[in-house]
């Protein structure tokens, strides 16, 4: 896989909108055949803009995009032929059933009638949406519409498949089915790009990922590379009785890095050796009525992500973190 040239090659890609907003800032990344690549970031981090440039509906300000070695910026028609995409926007399902829409999309992407029928039946089965296969689009729930849109992109995928938030509105059971299908596409040799802001799911589904913040790639690699020296750390997570209590505790508690609070939750990475001390502390706070429950888990990608981009995507947590560490 490493010897083959990447299917998608993005170099120094910058996109400025006319109003002066920089949506993508010097992005460089590659996605190979057989690889599931995650793009993670807050709302407005520039993920969708990046996809729109690959598929040729937005034009980069500078930088290059190559699909299978061919210039996608100069030839957007080639890009759309080589690449299938599930956009974040609603699919045109009014008046047509999932079966009709998936089959038509497969045929528009070049599958012959038999192959399109077979793939459609297969996807409807693996995503477990047989019950709605002949219902008209406007009568479907948001989740089934989303799964149908996913299948429309996956039916005849081309070299590169891009999914923009495919699991929105989808129930947890079918999400797993969807992830399994994503993996299968990669195993069949597609390069898959997955946009999501669901870090927990992404960790399970992707081979490599890039974390975007304000249009910039702040880190990229495999989930374990991103974890780096956090591997022998534990995540200490405390659910407090109120958001105020969580913020208060987060200020007072210093692990390896300062604690972060979001809502009633307080999270902080600690060394495994410091676990007993943290346990005692948490039990004391629980008795004092500040804490509902707590847990210790290996540091997840979510911690890394929040550390990199901050709870509000401000990207300034590093400074805050350093100050708190000194304190």
């Amino acid at each position: 896989m490493t010897n083959a040239p990447p299917v998608l090659e993005i170099e120094h890609l910058t996109k400025d909108y006319r109003k002066g907003v920089r949506a993508n800032d010097d992005i460089t990344l590659q996605v190979g055949a057989g690889e599931v690549f995650g793009l993670l970031g807050h709302n407005g981090a520039g993920k969708t803009t990046l996809l729109n440039q690959v598929i040729g509906i937005a034009k980069p300000t500078s930088g290059t995009i190559r699909i299978d070695g061919r210039d996608a910026v100069a030839d957007p028609v080639m890009a759309r032929d080589a690449c299938s995409m599930q956009p974040q926007t609603q699919a045109p399902l009014d008046g047509v059933s999932p079966r009709e829409a998936i089959e038509l999309m497969a045929r528009l992407r070049g599958a012959d009638r038999r192959r399109a029928k077979r793939r459609t039946a297969e996807l409807i089965e693996v995503l477990d949406i047989q019950a709605w296969q002949d219902a008209k689009g406007e009568r479907l729930s948001g989740g089934v519409q989303r799964l149908t849109a996913f299948a429309m992109a996956a039916a005849e995928p081309g070299r590169l498949v891009m999914f923009d938030e495919p699991t929105n509105d989808v129930d947890p059971v079918r999400r797993r089915m969807l992830w399994a299908e994503v993996r299968k596409l990669a195993d069949q040799g597609c390069a898959v790009v997955l946009v999501t802001h669901n870090v927990v799911e992404a960790e399970r589904a992707v081979d490599r990922l890039a974390i975007l913040d304000h249009g910039r790639v702040v880190d990229q690699g495999t989930p374990s590379q991103l974890r780096g020296d956090h591997a022998n750390k534990l995540r200490f997570e405390v659910t407090c009785t109120s958001a105020g209590a969580a913020a208060g505790l987060a200020e007072r508690f210093t692990g390896i890095e300062p604690a972060v609070s979001t809502g009633r939750r307080m999270m902080v990475p600690i060394w495994a050796d410091d676990c007993p001390a943290a346990l005692t502390w948490a039990q004391d706070e629980q008795r004092a009525g500040n804490v509902d429950e707590f847990s210790f888990t290996p540091v997840s990608l979510e911690d890394i992500y929040i550390r990199l981009v901050g709870p509000e995507g401000n990207g300034n947590t590093e400074e805050v973190g350093d100050e708190a560490l000194v304190a």
Binding site: Y17, I55, G56, I57, A58, K59, P76, V77, R80, D81, S84, M85, P87, T89, Q90, A91, P92, D94, G95, V96, E100, L104, M105, R107, L108, R109
Partner: protein, 245 residues
């Protein structure tokens, strides 16, 4: 080109499937409007001479095609635009004009029965004697293409909330203030001049002369003008559709 026709065929199928439950109703209403114009105007003008009757009949047919191309089609595009469906379509590997053509063809074809019924009702009502020529086919195609080209141009360029207002204005102009249902001479001079630059009178003329060929034969100018309008409208639309932001 093969790819174009392949895409067009599949998109047409998609549209027919999509609209299968609405199309019969659409055809009926379209027919009623068209026939209604003929009957309704004949109440307004009780003593109708053969020339006025011909104008009214072919005018109703023209208005029907204008309604389809410049009102119905753009309003539906505006709805799709509002719901973000156009952004979805833009990611599809299909030629942009095939997308439009597949859309327009459904609407125009669904208006055809109405045209035939209108002609039938009008000839019976007014004792009209018409000499339909083969020119009626390019006539309908060009009037439709011109109307749809302009209609899509409006739909793609204007904000969705404005499309409804603009298309209604177009409809009122074509029905009341354009030399479609009556000869141009009845309009004030300045309005006649304005209409020389607008497509309406050429649309009416193309239909009128191909439905009832005048002694001097069918005038070709309207066909050329309509082709130009169609090309201009589609060029604008295509530009907006393929533009990368």
């Amino acid at each position: 080109m093969k790819h174009w026709w392949h895409s067009f065929g599949l998109l047409l199928k998609w549209n027919v499937l999509r609209l299968r439950s609405e199309l019969p109703m659409f055809m009926v209403i379209q027919t009623l409007i068209s026939v209604g114009i003929v009957i309704g105007f004949s109440f307004i003008i009780p003593e109708i001479d053969p020339l006025s009757a011909l104008y009214l009949t072919t005018g109703a047919m023209t208005v029907s095609l204008i309604t389809v191309g410049m009102v119905v089609a753009p309003q539906i595009v505006a709805q799709q635009k509002e719901r973000g469906l156009l952004n979805y379509q833009r990611t599809m590997p299909v030629p942009r004009l095939a997308l439009l053509a597949a859309d327009a063809v459904v609407w125009v074809v669904s208006a055809l029965p109405g045209l035939a019924v209108t002609l039938g009702v009008a000839t019976a009502r007014f004792d009209l004697d018409v000499t339909v020529s083969p020119w009626v086919i390019p006539g309908i195609v060009l009037v439709s293409a011109g109307a749809a080209g302009i209609g899509y141009g409006i739909a793609y360029v204007a904000k969705p909330v404005l499309v409804g207002v603009i298309t209604n204005l177009v409809l009122v102009i074509s029905l009341m203030f354009a030399p479609v249902n009556y000869p141009a001479e009845r309009l004030p001079g300045w309005a006649q001049e304005v209409h020389e630059w607008l497509p309406f009178q050429y649309m009416a003329q193309a239909i009128r002369e191909s439905v009832d060929v005048p002694p001097a034969g069918v005038t070709l100018l309207p066909f050329a003008v309509l082709a130009a309008w169609a090309v201009a409208g589609l060029a604008v639309t295509s530009r907006v559709m393929t533009r990368r932001v």
